[in-house]
Every structure is written in structure tokens, then in C-alpha cells.
Amino acid sequence: MMQKKKLFFLIVLLVVTSGLLAIDNAHFYKSANLHKKSTVGWFDELEKYDTLDWFTKIDFNYLYGDSGSCWDKNGHSAPLLNSTGNYDMLYLMENVPVKPDFQHYATFLANAQIYHERTNSTFGQLKFDGKFELNEVNIDLRQNLVSGFFLEGHLPVRDVSLKNISYNDMSPETGIYNKNMAQWRQFKNQLDVILQNYGLNSATKKYSQTGLGDLSILVGWQGIKENKEDDTTRFLGLTLKGGILFPTGNKDKTDYVFSLPTGYNGHWGIPLAVEGEIGFLGWLTLSAHASAVFFFDDDNKTRRMKTFTKQQGYIKLLDGQAEEEKGTLWHIGADIKFDHLAKGLSFLVGYSYNRQEEDELDPKDTTHFIKSVVNSDPLLEAWYMHVLHFMLDYDFSVHMQDSKWAPRINVFYNYPFDGKRAFKTDTIGGGLGVDVRWKL
């Protein structure tokens, strides 16, 4: 009974200390990777090497993911680039200075679309779709110090792309304002010219960017209390860590309608994380973990911003400087790990809830931008994703009990099963790791 109380207390402790994702992991465009650290080699099982002084863990993994759909602002399934709902082109030009002049044919047509307002229908609405692809490599290094303290580094490298971008005209087939209306057809024909006038590429132009993600360096402490006399509860573990997230990733591109950063878009961050583990029967480990990244404001960022409350979608004609307060990113999760079920083979199934709170922009140019309008953009609102994690790994150290080092390999699959304002990007990948105990 007492043990149950302790277990419950531990779990509650883990939950209440939960924060945001500790490293560059979760993004709205991809499912988060497994938050738990990789398997630690058992070697000779003389001790838990997790906290062994000067123990070193190095991990590389590669993953791929793609998606053609998303969860929209209501949590419903939607085409990939339509999470905000259909793009209402009637308001595209609202409160936007005309370029190059109001008589320019494309501007004139765009400006004229507002004249169809209040049609009480889907007239003037476009539904955007596309395909997202992700290739990602993660490099992790953990270097134990002494007394459970350790240093940890993480650096992702990503290739993100949006392609096959297209849109459907949702205007009604019938009615006085229908999709065959000359002025509307002319507007669609000139949409790229309109975007060009405002420094934007074609709305359907493929976007691709490869680069570093955000580097994070953390310091932590891990403590493990083993109880070899108890056949049921074999150990309890607690990990605490915190550090700095460096904005080493590429920012999104404001000349693209649809653009993604490879990191957190230029924000410094303070990641904090906690993880608790409890081992049973020698082969079953339950863990719970939570993390948070508190981002620093970027006080001079070029952003495309809404100029009118009824605008929605990714197409925003006007850009400007703004102070960006990025919403805190956090997660909570739990895993069940069947540890070394057969020799070095382990299987893990886990769950994580990943969320980023809403971003807020404070435009510098208050002539053209109104803060409340800018921040009415659904794309700035919070997103979340529920992810199931599956992993198989093999620890070769069980065959190299006298070796200073041993490799590990793993394969994994991350499946996002629910969310809001997030791409439905499941990812699959594999990894290679090495554990090194410098001193036998």
C-alpha cells in the first residue's frame, strides 16, 4: 500500500513539474519524436550505467515523414494548407496599400473583389492543399559528469518541403455570384501577379528548405535508486535538465506564401525537462516525462501579417516588422518499455501530448497594422498534437559485456492521432547509437 502511494506521488510529481519540450523536437508540421532518451546499454548489468560517471551516449537517427492533410482550427481533418478554413479572397486587399498603383489591372481586380462582399455564400473562397515532406537527422550527445550530473546536446538537421500546392475554387456553381463570373475569373487568373506586386512568389510555388534545426545544450542530473532486493520494483529514477536552445535553424521565407522554418524561427529558448522512471520485474520500465521551452521574444522580425480581421489563410499581402512573442512549447508523455525482452531487444510504446501556446505579434508599423487584427490570425493560435510512439531497439552491449563501448540500433514510428492546427505528419525512422563507458 505504501509503495502504491509512493508510485502515485511520483507520477503526480512528474505531472506537476511538466514543462515544455526540452529540445527542438515538436513542430506543428511534424509529429514529435520520442521524448525519452534512448536505451542505455546493460553491458554486464553490474550497475545502471545511466548515471555512471563519465559515461557517454551518442545517437544519430534519421526519419522521414509526409502528409497531405492537417487538423484545422476546429480539430477537424482538412487539406494540408487549409487549417484556417477557406481563404476568403474578398478581403485580401482590405487595408493593404495598393501596389504598384490602384489602377494597375491586377490591383484593380483584387481591390474590386471586396465589392462582392456579403454574398452569404462561399463566393470568393479558395481551398488550398499541398503535400508536406520531411527528412530529418538528429544528433544527440550525452556526456555524464559525476554524481549523476551530465551534459546533453541535440542538433537536428531538417529538409522541409511543401509541394503539389494547389487550390480549389469554392465559389458556388450557381447564383449571381458564381465561379464563372468574369471579374472573379479574372482575379484568379491574375492572382500570381497580385502576389508578385507584394513581393510574393506564386501561391502554388514549391517550397523547400534544408538546414540546421535549433541546437540545444543542456545540463542535467539523473538519480537512480535501485532496489535489487525487491523483485517487483527494481528501481526508481529521476532526471532533471535544463539549458539553452540556440536559434541555429533557418527561418521561414517571407517571399513565399507557404513557408516553414527548420527550427523555431529564430527564437532563443530555455528548455527544461523532467523525467521519472520506475522499473519493475527487471524488464518493464514505466516512465513519465514533461518538458517546456520558454522562448525569448524576437523584437525585430519581418512577418507577413493580417490587415483585416476577416482575412484568413496563409496569403497575407503586407509584411512588416514586429516583435514576436513565441508561445511556450511543452509536452507531457509516458512510455512503457519492455526492456531487453530477448537479449538486447527492447520494445517501447509511448504517448505524448505536444502543444505550443499562441504566438503574439506586436507590429512596429502601427499605421498599417493593428495589433488586435494581426493577432486574430488563426496561424498564430496554439496548436497541439497527440502522438503515439513506437520503437524497437537492440542493445548490443549484452553481447559485449567486457567492452568499453557497445552499439545500439533502433527503428521507430511516431503516429499523430489527434490535434489542432497541425499537420498530420507521421514519421518513421531508424537510429544508431553508441554507449561508451570509459572506465571498466
Binding site: V96, R118, T174, I176, N180, A182, H368
Partner: protein, 924 residues
């Protein structure tokens, strides 16, 4: 029995439907006035409509009702005002609406002026009999009244005395008391039959006149009108002479000279018509009586009504009903409404008389020269033939006998409104309230008028008298029209009605009901074809008038006037009067409907429809797609199944895109096609097809006469609208094309029949126009009856974002056209949005559609920031006089999400608007 009750009920409902306008009751529970309404006044600043009765009617002997009132308020609460009211005038101590009502109370032989203080109905100012004195100082009775505002005082004018030798004009200043402001000894200033003792003293007799003995009748002052801005009283009267070379004049002016008034001529004393000229409207010289009409011995001038007009182009005109007549008992001018150019700055005709003369209607307002003539360079017309004929022709009632003059007249903006109640409707008389609006040349000078158009809903045909309007008033602020009449036809008017906006509950027989059934998915466009349009009439249907309404793949036809007795259609359930004709499946939304006659065969006509998929024509199913030969009813050929809407044969190759505008001059049709295929550029085209008996042959005459990127028209120019205008004064009044675009207005430098892509002038190149509106191209009475119009309004994109370049506003531009090459010029130069003297609005909310009869101006609008709003606004050109600092919003229309067009139905006197569910009535 039950069925009978139902039938009776339905009949009652239908009858109610005829009286669409709302009756304004005398008081709660009493609909009609207890006595005949004898006088009326209207205060446009407050919107109050004042009436007086011809017999004691208690507190309602004098009454008023406001814009939103459904009953009158009795003003004659004091006994001394509860009597016959014979004359009434409003006076104001401020510039902000009437403060007092001057009254002629008690029937004949009245020598006390009573003035009711509107702020205290018990306070009745009086001018005693000893102040009502004639030109020689004798106490007399008074007759006419006029009033207004003058230098922070109210002002009232009386015409006193009925003796030909000593009658005159008195003036009273209204403050807390009345003060005589007339002249020396307070004697009336002379307005009698004397030849002026001082040259040009305003009397009816002119230089050369020799003796009063040759006047056949006493001169009569028929009307007086005080113009607050010009600070001038204009008098109009009747005078007749039978003595050779006697010269008589019907108009004089009265102005203040220091503390006193002085009456003077409106033309220099030495400027007179020659004795062989009989048509100088307000002045005539008797001839030698040799039985030649021009030299008739008897000449008389009868000006029954006089008002002033300050046009949107800042020109002044005197609008008069009446004119010069020859032969005793000949009254041919009773149905003549004429405009006389008036220059308020022209030199005084006598010392101290104050500036102001009637001048030639030319660019400079040239001073008239002797001998005075109507036409010609120095004549009244100033070289602009027929420019002074309001309505382009006589008013729509016969002018033969005395008493056939207009019953009431009002000027608002550029528009003249008149009413007629003299006789019931028949082939000679079309009673009702009518309007005509001025059209301008490039100098802002009137060079024409729109055809007379009914403005109060016609209640019935010849069976009753409800259209016989004794009095009326047009409220340009809220777009209503008041009318006073006697439904019984006995000249005992006791009923006051006011038009209203109606969006539902139309009567079963109404046009609106048929349209809302058949065009319930939207009414996108319309075309009104007034009476007299060539090709739509026949021998038995000379009055035919039709209206076409476009919807989604269908067009509704309505016959709104028929026969030869000025009958107005009231039952649109009759297949004779209404018919729906579908276009072929897939034709798309009808964006424009057009009509063309065939100048080679005036009995032949064609209907066209421009849709999202091209150009359609209503043609014979068999044969060679010929046009129709005359129209009778909508239940006969060509509406008997032998014709149908068909894509114009052969034009598919020439017009591949949507058609958004159609015009015709009888020789050609002109069609605007939109390019909907080009990416990264845009090309609009204006096509011309020659009218031919066989529509199929028309494609052989096809030419593109304007195209983006060709000739003077820059690449990527979007044609947003197209109109035909008449270059008045050019050879054969040649017609020119006007295109509104994102790059200004383009006007064809060559006639429409010969224009090529090289023949275009660009004006207002820095403006972008969303659309253009013009008055109807109504036919002229004389050949070639090709329709006259030379005024357009451009609805342009404007920017009120304080230099942010948003261009989320609109403004109105009005263009006048020069004769000859039809060069267009903004008139007035600053645009047409707001004529207020102080703080005019430069920008309006975004506008899609504009309608104006020259006085009332309605436009559809929206503001994207608003969630719930009315789509329609009213903004007359001189909003100040309507106490408006911003456009008026129609709360009745908050449930109407879109209005596609607004237009008057000329035959019915209603104003309709096209909506997503059919039509609504803006004037009903």
C-alpha cells in the same frame, strides 16, 4: 358563399395593392382631411410637409407631417387660424429650416397677414391692415405669398391689390414681430400695368409700350418664389395686349436695396423680341395683326409657375411653366416647362435693382442683345438647340386650354418635378408627378433634358383619378415623394400619400410579385424602354413601354404601359403584361440586357442579353434569326413561342468571353467582352455589330472598335462599363461611345458608327472607375429618335485612408460632353460627390451601383468593418439643404444583403432594386 367572401377578400387585397403609397392621415382614426387641401409648403431642411385647407378644419386647417410621421399634426390650434387658408409660405429666421408659416387666412378680401411661430403655436404674429397697402398707399387686400430666409431674418413677400394701376409687392421681415421692409412710406413697390416710370422697373409693360388701354385683362401675378441663396424674389404672371408693338413680360425680380426692396426687370429694358418673334418664352411683342401668327395683334405671356435651379455645375436657371402665346384664348404654353439661363452676377437692369439677368444659354452666359430671339448664338438658347425645353418636349399633358398648366412644381438639384391634375387620364392627358433632369456640356451648360418620367407610383389606368396630383414634394434625403390628390377627381383634394420602401408583401397583381416568383434566385440587371422607344409600339399600342429584367439564365419581360390612352399597367398577372423567357441551359447569369431598333425599319427590334458565356439574342426559332416586327402584348408574337433566346449566331467566334455591357443606336450594337482566359495580363474588347434584318448576317459586319493595348488604350485596361452619348450640336447629333476603365474614361473621338481602335481620347486618366451610370437614352420626339443622353456618372475608386493608399472608398464623377467630338469633361470640376459649401464629403463608402434622377441619388455601399448594415445610402448633391452632413442610411434594408441595380420604371413611377431574391421597391 365562402368562395364569394374569399373572392371579395382577394379583390380587396388587389385593390389595396393599387394604393401602394402610404396615406398620411389627418389624424389618428381620420384618414382624409376634413376639408380640401388648398395650399402646401415643404421644408426640405426638416422634411416637414405643410398643408392648409380651403375651409375651416379645426386644428388641421394648417397642419404638418414629418418624414417619419403617419399622421399630421394640427398647427392651427388658435381660433384665428381656423379658417380658409388660401396662401401659405414658409419663412425662416435661421438657415436651418422653417421657423414661421405665413398664412392668408379667411378667404377673400384679407388684409391682415398672420404668421405662425412654429416654436409656439399660440404665438401668431400679425401685420395689421394699415401695413397692407398698395403702391399709392391705399389699404388693400393681399394675394400671393412667398417666404424664406434673408440675412438672419425670416422674410415674407405679399402681392397686394388687384387694381391694374396700383398693385405691388410688400415685404415683411420676421423676427419676434413683423417689420415692414418694403420701401418709402411702406407703400408697395409697383408691379402693375404701368409702363415703368423708371426704365426697367419690373412692370409687365416694356419699352415701346404706349398705353395701358391696350391691355385686354388685368395683369396677374401667378406665382412668386424667393431664392435664399440669390436673395431674390422672382415673380411670374400673365399679361395680354392687343396693341401693335406693345411688349409684355411675365417675369420680374425683387431684391433688397438697403432696407427696402426694389423691383426690376430680368433683361435690360432695351432688349426685346422683334415683332415677328413669338417664342421668347417670357416676353412677347404684339404684331400688326395681319393674321400671320407671328404678327398676331394679340400676344400674351402666361407664366404660371417659376422656380430657380442651381445646377450641379454651378449654373443658375429659372424654371418656368408657361410661355408666350399668340391669339386671344390660345394657351399652347400651359404644358411647356422651360429653363431660362440666369446669371445672378449680370449687371443690374436699373440702378439699385440688384444684379441678375436672364442670359443666353452659352458657355459664358452672354448678355442678351436686341432684338431678342430664342435660338441662334445670342438667343436664349445660346446656340444649344432645344436646350431650354425641359423634358425634351412638352410635359405629358395637352396644352391647349387655360387651366392645363402644371399644378405644382419643385426643383431639386438638376431635376425639375411637375405635377398635373387638371383632367383625368386619356389619350391627351397623363396626370401624375413627372420629372426631367438636365444634361450638360463640357462647360456645365445645360444642353438637353431627359424625357419626362413618372416619379409617383401610378395607381391605376383611366378608371380613377389617383394620379391627379394637386400638390407634391420630393424628399431627396430619404427618397420619398409626397402627393396630395382627390381620388374622386372632383378637385377636392383631401388625401395625402407618401411613397415608401417596400421589400415584401407586394400585391398579387404587382410586377414585383411576378419578378420575385420567377427571379427568386436573383435579379442581376434590367432595361427600361420608355414610351416612344422606336420598334416597341404599334398602331394600337402607341404608348407601349416595356421593361426587361435579367436573372440566372432567364429574362422577364413586363409591359408597363399600353394602348393609346396613356394607360398604365396594374395587373401583371395578365399574360399580356408579363412573360418569363428562359435562356438556353448553360447560358449563365445575364449581366446585361439590351435593345436595338432597326433604323432601316422602325417597326423592327431586337432584344439582346449578355451573359457569363457570351451574347444572346431573342430571335425567331425558324428562318434566319430575324428581329421582331413591332410589339403588341406579351401574349402575342414574338412572345408566342415563335421566338426564343439563342446564342447569337456566328458571334461565338468573335465573342468568346462573358459580356458585361450592351448598347445600341439602331444601326449598330456595341458589346463589351471580358477576357477571362489570359494569365498575367488582361484584355477587354468593345465589339460592334451592324444591325441587320437577319441577325445571322450581323456577324459579317463585326469589328472590334476598342481593345486594351491597341491604339490609345493602354495594355491591361479593364473595361468596366460602356455608354452611348449624344454629341449634341454635332452633325446629326452624332453618337459617341464612352468606356469606363481602371485607367480613366475613354471617349470615342469619332462617331460610334465609324469609330476604330485608334479613335479614343482618355480623360481623368488618374482615376479608376468601377462602373458608370447614365440616364436612360430616351427617344426624342423628332427624328432620328435615336435616344438622347449626354451625361454619365462614373463611380470611381477613391482613397480616404489619409495617404495610406488603400482606395477603399468611392466618389462620383459627373461628365458633360462637348458637341462635335464629344470630349468629356468633369462637371462640376471637383467631382459630383458633395456640393456642400462647407466641409463637403470627398469620399463615400465603397459603391457598386449608382442611381440618380438628377436630384435624388442612391448608391449601394458597404463597409467591410461592419457586420450588419444597410446596403443603400441616399446623398443628394446639395446635402446641406437637406440638413445632411453624411449620407442617409435606409434602416428598412438591413435584411437586404446585396443590391445589384437601382432604377426607376418610367411608366409606373416606381423605383426598383435588384436583389438576390428578386426585386424590392425603393419608391412604392
Amino acid at each position: 358563399m365562402k368562395k364569394l367572401k374569399i373572392l371579395l377578400f382577394l379583390g380587396w387585397i388587389s385593390f389595396l395593392g393599387l394604393n401602394a403609397a402610404q396615406q398620411i392621415n389627418q389624424e389618428a382614426g381620420t384618414a382624409n382631411f376634413g376639408e380640401n387641401i388648398s395650399v402646401k409648403a415643404y421644408d426640405r431642411y426638416t422634411g416637414d410637409f405643410y398643408v392648409g385647407t380651403d375651409a375651416e378644419n379645426g386644428a388641421y386647417s394648417v397642419a404638418k407631417a414629418g418624414r417619419g410621421d403617419s399622421v399630421f399634426t394640427g398647427l392651427s390650434t388658435e381660433d384665428q387660424l381656423q379658417d380658409t387658408i388660401s396662401y401659405m409660405a414658409l419663412a425662416s429666421r435661421t438657415e436651418f429650416g422653417a421657423t414661421h408659416v405665413a398664412l392668408h387666412v379667411g378667404g377673400n378680401n384679407i388684409d391682415i397677414l398672420r404668421v405662425l411661430d412654429l416654436s409656439d403655436l399660440t404665438n401668431i404674429l400679425q401685420a395689421p391692415a394699415n401695413q397692407i397697402i398698395d403702391a399709392v398707399g391705399t389699404e388693400v387686400y393681399f394675394y400671393n405669398l412667398a417666404g424664406g430666409y434673408y440675412n438672419d431674418h425670416g422674410i415674407i413677400f405679399l402681392r397686394v391689390g388687384n387694381n391694374r394701376e396700383d398693385s405691388g409687392i410688400l415685404a415683411f421681415q420676421v423676427d419676434d414681430a413683423l417689420t415692414q421692409r418694403t420701401g418709402v412710406n411702406n407703400f408697395a413697390v409697383r408691379l402693375d400695368d404701368q409702363k415703368g416710370a423708371v426704365a426697367g422697373d419690373g412692370n409687365f409693360f416694356r419699352e415701346q409700350s404706349t398705353a395701358v388701354l391696350y391691355l385686354n385683362t388685368n395683369p396677374v401675378v401667378n406665382d412668386m418664389y424667393w431664392d435664399d441663396e440669390l436673395q431674390t424674389l422672382f415673380t411670374a404672371g400673365s399679361i395680354e395686349t392687343d396693341k401693335e408693338n406693345q411688349i409684355v413680360i411675365g417675369i420680374s425680380k425683387v431684391k433688397f436695396n438697403g432696407d427696402n426692396i426694389i423691383i426690376s426687370d430680368v433683361i435690360p429694358y432695351n432688349v426685346n423680341p422683334a415683332n415677328n418673334v413669338n417664342n421668347c418664352i417670357f416676353v412677347a411683342q404684339a404684331g400688326d395683326g395681319d393674321n400671320d401668327d407671328d404678327n398676331a395683334r394679340v400676344k400674351h405671356v402666361d407664366i404660371y409657375k417659376i422656380r430657380t435651379m442651381k445646377t450641379s455645375t454651378n449654373k443658375h436657371y429659372l424654371i418656368v411653366n408657361g410661355g408666350a402665346n399668340i391669339q386671344e384664348n390660345e394657351f399652347n404654353s400651359t404644358n411647356q416647362i422651360r429653363a431660362l439661363r440666369y446669371d445672378p452676377t449680370a449687371a443690374a437692369t436699373i440702378a439699385g435693382g440688384g444684379t441678375g439677368q436672364i442670359v443666353a444659354n452659352d458657355a459664358n452666359g452672354t448678355t442678351l442683345v436686341n432684338p431678342l430671339v430664342l435660338d441662334g448664338a445670342y438667343g436664349l438658347e445660346g446656340g444649344n438647340a432645344n436646350s431650354l425645353v425641359v423634358g425634351g418636349e412638352n410635359a405629358p399633358w395637352r396644352g391647349v386650354d387655360e387651366g392645363e398648366q402644371s399644378a405644382d412644381m419643385q426643383i431639386v438639384g438638376d431635376t425639375v418635378y411637375v405635377s398635373f391634375n387638371g383632367l383625368p387620364r386619356n389619350g391627351n392627358f397623363d396626370p401624375g408627378v413627372w420629372s426631367s433632369t438636365a444634361m450638360f456640356d463640357d462647360n456645365g451648360v445645360i444642353i438637353g433634358w431627359t424625357k419626362w418620367e413618372r416619379v409617383f407610383p401610378s395607381a391605376n389606368n383611366s378608371a380613377n383619378h389617383e394620379d391627379e396630383a394637386k400638390f407634391f414634394a420630393v424628399d431627396a434625403k430619404i427618397n420619398t415623394v409626397w402627393q396630395v390628390n382627390d381620388d374622386g377627381g372632383g378637385d377636392q383634394p383631401k388625401i395625402v400619400r407618401r411613397t415608401e420602401i417596400k421589400t415584401t408583401d407586394f400585391s398579387a397583381n404587382s410586377l414585383q410579385t411576378q419578378l420575385n416568383r420567377d427571379l427568386s434566385d436573383g435579379c442581376s440587371c434590367m432595361l427600361d424602354l420608355p414610351k416612344g422607344t422606336p420598334g416597341i409600339e404599334g398602331a394600337a399600342n402607341g404608348d407601349n413601354s416595356f421593361v426587361l429584367f435579367g436573372g440566372i439564365e432567364k429574362v422577364s419581360f413586363a409591359r408597363t404601359k399600353y394602348g393609346n390612352a396613356n394607360d398604365v399597367t396594374t395587373n401583371f398577372t395578365s399574360p399580356n403584361n408579363y412573360k418569363l423567357e428562359n435562356l438556353p441551359a448553360g447560358a449563365g447569369v445575364v449581366r446585361a440586357v439590351g435593345y436595338s431598333r432597326n433604323t432601316e425599319d422602325e417597326t423592327m427590334g431586337y432584344f439582346f442579353a449578355g451573359t457569363d458565356t457570351g451574347l444572346y439574342v431573342y430571335t425567331a426559332n425558324a428562318g434566319y434569326h430575324v428581329g421582331f416586327n413591332g410589339l403588341t402584348t406579351l401574349n402575342a408574337a414574338p412572345f408566342d413561342g415563335t421566338f426564343s433566346w439563342q446564342k447569337m449566331y456566328g458571334a461565338a467566334d468573335q465573342i468568346a468571353g462573358p459580356v458585361t455591357a450592351i448598347e445600341s443606336n439602331g444601326l449598330y450594337i456595341f458589346v463589351v467582352e471580358q477576357d477571362v482566359t489570359t494569365v498575367g495580363g488582361i484584355t477587354s474588347k468593345l465589339h460592334r455589330f451592324g444591325i441587320d434584318e437577319k441577325v445571322g448576317d450581323m456577324v459579317g459586319t463585326h469589328a472590334v472598335v476598342a481593345q486594351s493595348g491597341v491604339g490609345p488604350i493602354p495594355a491591361n485596361t479593364i473595361f468596366t462599363g460602356m455608354k452611348l452619348v449624344t454629341a449634341v450640336g454635332a452633325a446629326n447629333n452624332s453618337q459617341h461611345l464612352v468606356i469606363s476603365t481602371n485607367n480613366g474614361i475613354f471617349v470615342s473621338t469619332a462617331g460610334a458608327d465609324a469609330v476604330t481602335t485608334a479613335d479614343w481620347d482618355q480623360v481623368e486618366a488618374d482615376s479608376g472607375y468601377h462602373s458608370i451610370y447614365s440616364p436612360k437614352r430616351t427617344p426624342t420626339t423628332a427624328g432620328p429618335r435615336d435616344g438622347v443622353n449626354h451625361k454619365i456618372w462614373g463611380v470611381k475608386l477613391a482613397d480616404d485612408s489619409k495617404a495610406l493608399d488603400y482606395y477603399q472608398n468611392s466618389a462620383f464623377d459627373q461628365f458633360g460632353f462637348q458637341g462635335g467630338n464629344a470630349n468629356a469633361t468633369l462637371q462640376p470640376a471637383g467631382g459630383y460627390t458633395d456640393g456642400s459649401a462647407a466641409n463637403p464629403l470627398t469620399y463615400l463608402d465603397r459603391t457598386t451601383s449608382f442611381w440618380s434622377d438628377g436630384a435624388r441619388r442612391l448608391y449601394t455601399r458597404f463597409n467591410a468593418n461592419e457586420i450588419a448594415y444597410s446596403t443603400l445610402r441616399s446623398f443628394p448633391y446639395y446635402p446641406e439643404e437637406w440638413n445632411m452632413t453624411e449620407p442617409y442610411s435606409f434602416s428598412e434594408l438591413s435584411d437586404i444583403p446585396r443590391i445589384y441595380w437601382v432604377e426607376s420604371i418610367s411608366a409606373l413611377g416606381i423605383v426598383l432594386a435588384g436583389t438576390d431574391t428578386g426585386v424590392i421597391s425603393l419608391v412604392e
